[in-house]
């Protein structure tokens, strides 16, 4: 009996000692020091949060800027994770300053948006210019690890700007070109004779329609695959009116498959007017202008099917084209049709050049209507375009010379460098053509 007690006492003592030394998680969590230690693992907050009105807008944007959190490092050491993964931008609507009738705060801070690490600004695009806003920025590691919020010092109200200053230079050049077009139109109306060079592709339109008439076959006109809100389609329709007038004059059949319902409606009106103008309203058949489908390759299948079956003698492709350009033009080529194309899609021009007899390149396409009309005041508008070319040419030559001089002279403070900066940043860049 005594022996049994003698070995049980030290065992009990060891058990009690181990229990006392064992970690006690529940107590550690409640410990304020431990809580503080956990808080220090949250990222450092960003600093110097400021908010400014976004310039050149309708009073609907505010730009929030901040200094990056100290924990937001550019490069993270291997094996470590980012302490700041993103920033949350919180917004609160404030009705106005104290004493104002709108002094009362309206609501709580809500999430306005997020910015990734190393970003020190955010544009809030959904503001109301009748309200004022306070912003907070929080550095976030993950949902349970966020910094304390850093806040703007005062509320900000977005301001409506009446003029987009970034587009001033664009307007200047636009006014110059439009002014030149209008000036030349007025000059032509007053009787001044202006010379316009011959465009081979347009000279061939009459030949193509005449050939179709002689062969007793139809003319096929394709006004592109975009809707009437695209300027190329409008240009195509204006050419259609001239082609239709010729077709009416020669008594040739003109077929116009369209890929848009609105284009079909406009094309019908245009062709009808052309037949009427040519004194052949009876020859107009609206069934020759029909809708196929909006789908690109469905349209191609329909048109190429018509080409192969009906074998038109003249094919006109005037409008906006994409991948279907070569399929159409090569099919037209295979049936031996005389083909004239015009488009403002630079990537499709090589295909048309390769497969068609004549191609109206870029500006020639837009000049087609004026050229075919033969009206002096319409032709005069082409002269206005030439003024635009002169402006463009002068800018290119001056830009090349000055940029070369700036490169040869070196340094950032030369006159040449200043001129280059002015041209690229203002006239052509963010404050000009590429705002």
């Amino acid at each position: 009996m005594t022996d049994r007690v003698s070995w049980r006492v030290p065992l009990l003592a060891i058990t009690i000692a181990l229990t006392a030394l064992a970690p006690q998680p529940a107590r550690a969590e409640a410990d304020p020091d431990a809580k503080a230690a956990q808080q220090t693992t949250a990222p450092q907050p960003p600093a110097d949060v400021t908010a400014i009105d976004r310039p050149d807008d309708a009073g609907d944007g505010i730009i929030v800027k901040w200094t990056l959190s100290k924990d937001d490092v550019k490069e993270v050491a291997e094996g470590e994770t980012r302490k700041v993964v993103r920033y949350e931008i919180l917004r609160k609507v404030v009705k106005g300053a104290e004493g104002d009738e709108r002094a009362e705060e309206e609501d709580k801070f809500t999430l306005a948006g997020e910015a990734t690490f190393q970003k020190d600004s955010f544009v809030d695009p959904q503001c109301d210019r009748t309200k004022s806003y306070l912003y907070q920025v929080v550095a976030v590691e993950h949902a349970d690890s966020k910094s304390t919020p850093a806040q703007t010092a005062a509320p900000i109200t977005p301001i409506l700007q009446y003029w987009d200053t970034r587009r001033t230079w664009f307007l200047v050049i636009l006014v110059l070109i439009c002014g030149a077009v209008i000036l030349f139109i007025q000059l032509a109306k007053s009787g001044v004779k202006l010379k316009v060079r011959k465009i081979a592709g347009l000279e061939a339109v009459e030949e193509a329609v005449g050939r179709a008439t002689e062969m007793g076959r139809s003319c096929l006109f394709i006004p592109g695959i975009l809707d009437i809100n695209d300027m190329q389609t409008v240009a195509g329709i204006t050419v259609l009116s001239r082609v239709a007038a010729l077709a009416a004059e020669y008594d040739a059949k003109l077929e116009v498959p369209t890929s848009r319902s609105l284009v079909m409606t406009v094309a019908r009106e245009t062709v009808q007017a052309a037949f009427l103008g040519a004194g052949r309203p009876d020859a107009y058949n609206e069934d020759n202008i029909y809708y196929l489908t909006d789908e690109q390759f469905g349209y191609v299948a329909g048109v190429t099917g018509t080409m192969v079956r009906d074998k038109p003698a003249a094919c006109f492709y005037m409008g906006a084209f994409f991948a279907e350009s070569l399929i159409l033009a090569e099919t037209g080529n295979s049936i031996g049709a005389i083909q004239i194309a015009g488009t403002a899609m630079p990537s499709q021009l090589p295909f048309f050049v390769a497969a068609c007899d004549y191609t109206l390149i870029g500006e020639e396409f837009f000049a087609a209507s004026a050229y075919l009309s033969g009206e002096a005041h319409q032709l005069a508008s082409l002269k206005g375009q030439d003024v635009g070319k002169v402006i463009g040419g002068v800018l290119i030559v001056v830009g090349c010379l000055v940029a070369s001089a700036a490169s040869l002279l070196g340094g950032d403070d030369t006159l040449a460098h200043s001129i280059v900066s002015f041209l690229t940043d203002n006239v052509l860049g963010d404050k000009g053509f590429l705002p």
């Binding site: 409606t265 052309a274 196929l292 469905g298 991948a323 004026a370 375009q385």
Partner: protein
């Protein structure tokens, strides 16, 4: 009247769009003008559908060339329309499980989605694939060395085509090395003569220059034509007064 009203609408809408580009306050006006166009286009789609039926029914009735295809077209149109409108095979939306029509008609599980993925897309891809053959036939004609310009075009095309392949580098590198050796030039100084480098120069300088010239011309053409349309100088797209 028939021309005046459309002309007035076109002019007002056009000027609103121009002004809205420069005045921030009016930006929303421009956006609304474009929404109106979308509404018009959607309504006009009914016209298009009606015309499609009319044209193909006439073709079948008159037994014109290819009338068999018209039967296929009309059948496909009506079947797709029915399946699309009835949302055949579409599962109800999660929020409204009791309404069988609440699912998205474009859902892949539905009949409309099936038609799109299993019939339309392969057919469109087939048409698109024809382009490869047409490029070959067009290139064959375009690159015939008939005159000086055609020879320059052929030479340029050869360099660009060859320079974009590994063979271009493989073949031209020994030539460049040989030229470097016989001229005594510094190693690497003649690397610009490699076919891939020449290709890069052609595409990034010559082609870009030509492309920009065309683009400037296009921009000027658009400005001029837009102005004529807005001012009513060119009314050929409006039809007649009668």
């Amino acid at each position: 009247m028939k021309r005046t009203v459309p002309l007035a609408i076109a002019a007002v809408t056009g000027f609103v769009l121009i002004v809205s580009y420069f005045i921030p306050y009016m930006q929303s006006w421009g956006e609304e003008a474009m929404i109106w166009f979308d509404i018009l286009a959607a309504v006009a789609f009914v016209l298009g559908g009606g015309n499609l039926l009319k044209t193909h029914l006439q073709k079948i009735s008159n037994r014109r060339a290819g009338w068999g295809f018209s039967i296929v077209t009309i059948s496909a149109f009506l079947i797709t329309l029915y399946i699309g409108f009835s949302k055949m095979g579409v599962n109800p939306a999660e929020n409204f499980p009791e309404f069988s029509w609440s699912g998205d008609y474009l859902a892949e599980s539905g009949g409309f989605g099936w038609i799109f993925h299993h019939i339309y897309l392969p057919l469109a891809a087939t048409m698109f694939s024809l382009l490869a053959f047409y490029i070959a036939s067009a290139a064959f004609r375009a690159f015939r060395a008939k005159n000086t310009e055609a020879m320059i075009l052929l030479g340029t095309a050869f360099i660009v085509l060859f320079g974009r392949t590994h063979a271009g580098i493989y073949v031209s590198q020994p030539v460049v090395d040989w030229l470097t050796a016989i001229s005594g030039a510094e190693a690497g100084s003649l690397a610009g003569l490699r076919l891939d480098r020449i290709t890069s120069t052609i595409t990034s300088i010559f082609i870009v220059a030509g492309n920009r010239a065309i683009t400037i011309g296009i921009a000027l053409g658009i400005v001029s034509l837009s102005l004529k349309v807005l001012l009513g100088v060119d009314r050929s797209y409006l039809g007649s007064e009668e």
